[in-house]
């Protein structure tokens, strides 16, 4: 596999080379070159901000097509709890799970149930005094990638436990293999996702060598198929596994609430996350043991691959949480799971902002960068293709751009040139005039 896999990609035919995506990118990972947006792979964290912001829909997330499930004999869907928030309230969670199964799966297993196992394991980490606090949730893969490129000092604070998706996938596979005597290689587990970052984390996992998930299908791709099944749904089997605490993970604050500590801080929206992580790194946040940080505004309910508005989704998930609260736990298909869910791989700092491996050269580049930046207009207009003037200065010292990419610098240069040319053109006439003046004297 290539060194960097990203779910977020560009559809060149739709890109008009405008400045919307470069301005919104939290890691300054996009440049417009030759009238098309280019993603700098090592900087992209798959947060999906560009997908949300692009007015021409040129940024997209690569997810799997539903047809890929037929490569497996036994097909299991594992829906993110966000899925429930996309439908109108007349459909209960059990109806939704039945409809999901009907679109082509043999079984379903709720990721919300996986979240409950992760909650239990996180509680143990919180109680362990030898572990650095505050702990930072690793549930959002975009936040983990952000920490990897921008907050190396916080890597040790990450909750190094597998995500609810991975846990759900493992349980679902194990269950199918033991209860139905199916070969593990014949079982395909498919995550129903609200976001691109999860697709990346399955194709290029950081917490283990290989993901237990076999494919990732976006909510928007199956939404209409599910609606059609819901309208025709006659009989229902009981498929509910998760309690309200697992379902609530879809919303910002849900993971923190489930852990049962008052000392948690929940932040959502990638730019807000950066502000909070900066404060944590500089030890400006006191009295907090757990930080839940989610890249999308509103948490997973605000994921770019959803169909419903995030605030509408918030109201709808509340109903599912309340319904689950009112339920008797004995009505759920609850299981136990005691396998270790620790990460088996470590993540390492990727210093993407470093100007050069050699300190002396980096220093020279930084000095040049400052000088160039001082000469730029400071309008941060983005017309050069970089998100701001400083980023252009950085690109210039990296040899990826030139000063005249700035339209103001270009105009200055053209004006200087035209004055010079005018000067050249005027030279003979000066001589004539001088002669004339001399004569008049």
């Amino acid at each position: 596999m290539a060194k960097y896999f990203h779910s977020v990609t560009l559809d060149e035919s739709k890109c008009r080379g405008c400045t919307n995506c470069i301005k919104g990118c939290p890691t300054e990972a996009i440049r417009v070159r030759q009238e098309k947006a280019r993603i700098i792979n090592e900087r992209c964290i798959d947060c999906g901000e560009c997908i949300r912001i692009c007015p021409y829909h040129a940024k997209k997330a690569i997810t799997d097509d539903l047809s890929c499930i037929f490569d497996f004999k036994h097909k299991i869907a594992i829906p993110a709890p966000t899925l429930y928030s996309q439908f109108t309230p007349e459909y209960t969670r059990n109806m939704l799970l039945n409809a999901l199964k009907k679109i082509g799966f043999d079984d379903v297993y709720e990721v919300a149930r996986g979240a409950e196992f992760v909650t239990e394991a996180t509680k143990k980490l919180l109680a362990d005094k030898s572990i650095k606090k505050p702990l930072i949730s690793s549930a959002c893969p975009a936040v983990v990638r952000l920490i990897q490129v921008r907050f190396p000092n916080l890597i040790d604070h990450l909750v190094k436990l597998e995500s609810p998706m991975e846990v759900a996938a493992k349980i679902a596979k194990k269950k199918a293999a033991s209860e139905k005597q199916i070969n593990l290689s014949d079982i395909g587990v498919f995550f129903i996702t609200p976001c691109a970052a999860k697709a990346t984390s399955v194709k290029a996992p950081y917490e283990s060598k290989k993901s237990s998930v076999d494919g990732v299908i976006s909510i928007k791709d199956i939404y209409l198929k599910m609606l059609a099944c819901l309208d025709r749904l006659k009989e229902q089997e009981q498929l509910l596994q998760a309690g309200y605490e697992g379902i609530r993970w879809a919303n910002s604050g849900g993971e923190g609430l489930a852990i049962g500590t008052d000392k948690f801080l929940a932040v959502d929206g990638i730019h807000n996350v950066i502000t909070i992580l900066e404060a944590v790194e500089s030890e400006k946040i006191m009295g907090v043991d757990f930080i839940e940080a989610l890249s999308c505004t509103g948490g997973c309910l605000g994921g770019p691959l959803n169909v419903e508005n995030v605030y509408v989704a918030k109201t709808r998930i509340k109903k599912h949480v309340d319904d689950a609260k009112a339920m008797d736990k004995s009505d759920l298909l609850q299981d136990t799971y005691n396998d270790n869910i620790d990460w088996t791989e470590e993540i390492e700092y990727t210093p993407v902002m470093k100007l050069d491996d050699d300190f002396g050269k980096a220093m020279k580049k930084l000095e040049d960068l400052e000088k160039i930046n001082d000469g730029l207009p400071g309008l941060d207009c983005g017309a050069c293709g970089a998100p701001n003037c400083r980023a252009l200065a950085e690109d210039i010292v990296r040899g990826m751009a030139q000063e005249t990419d700035c339209i103001f610098k270009l105009r200055e240069k053209l004006r200087d040139l035209s004055i010079q040319m005018q000067g050249l053109g005027n030279m003979p006439s000066y001589a004539v005039n001088d002669e004339h003046e001399d004569k008049s004297k």
């Binding site: 000092n153 902002m353 470093k354 100007l355 980096a362 220093m363 580049k365 950085e394």
Partner: protein
């Protein structure tokens, strides 16, 4: 490389901009993240001190391959008793400043904790000059 920053007086909204700018530059130079943190946190604390107590001032930063030296000079009242000021939890900050979450009496102690060398040159009624050194080559 030499850098110079103005530090505003009594304005906590923009406080920390100088240390945040220095931090970005150290990252671009490829300095070890743990050392970047040491330099950024200690400079931030000194910067805040200049804002809260020192009537503002300026920061001069010198970065070389071996170390970073930050000098924060303010025109404040000076520190009457350095020994007291170095004690954790001891602060002369106003209630107003404390309400904003500053003035916990951790400024100078934190600087000491995060730096390899700390010099305080203070004159009553004239001002204070705090010089912070973080060595880059020192083993962590």
């Amino acid at each position: 490389m030499k850098l110079h920053y103005e530090i505003p007086a009594n304005d906590l909204t923009y406080a920390g901009e100088a240390s945040s700018s220095v931090k970005k530059k150290l990252v671009q130079l490829g300095i070890d993240p743990a050392l970047v943190k040491k330099a950024a946190v200690s400079m931030y604390e000194a910067e805040i001190n200049a804002v809260i107590h020192g009537n503002g001032g300026f920061a001069d930063v010198e970065v070389s391959s071996d170390r970073i030296i930050v000098t924060i000079t303010d025109k404040g009242p000076g520190i009457p008793n350095i020994e007291l000021a170095m004690q954790e939890g001891w602060s002369t900050a106003s209630d107003e400043v404390r309400e904003m979450g500053f003035g916990a009496g951790m400024g100078l102690p934190n600087i000491k904790r995060y730096t390899d060398k700390l010099d305080i040159d203070t004159q009553i009624g004239e001002g204070t000059k705090v010089t912070i050194t973080v060595e880059f080559n020192k083993r962590l």
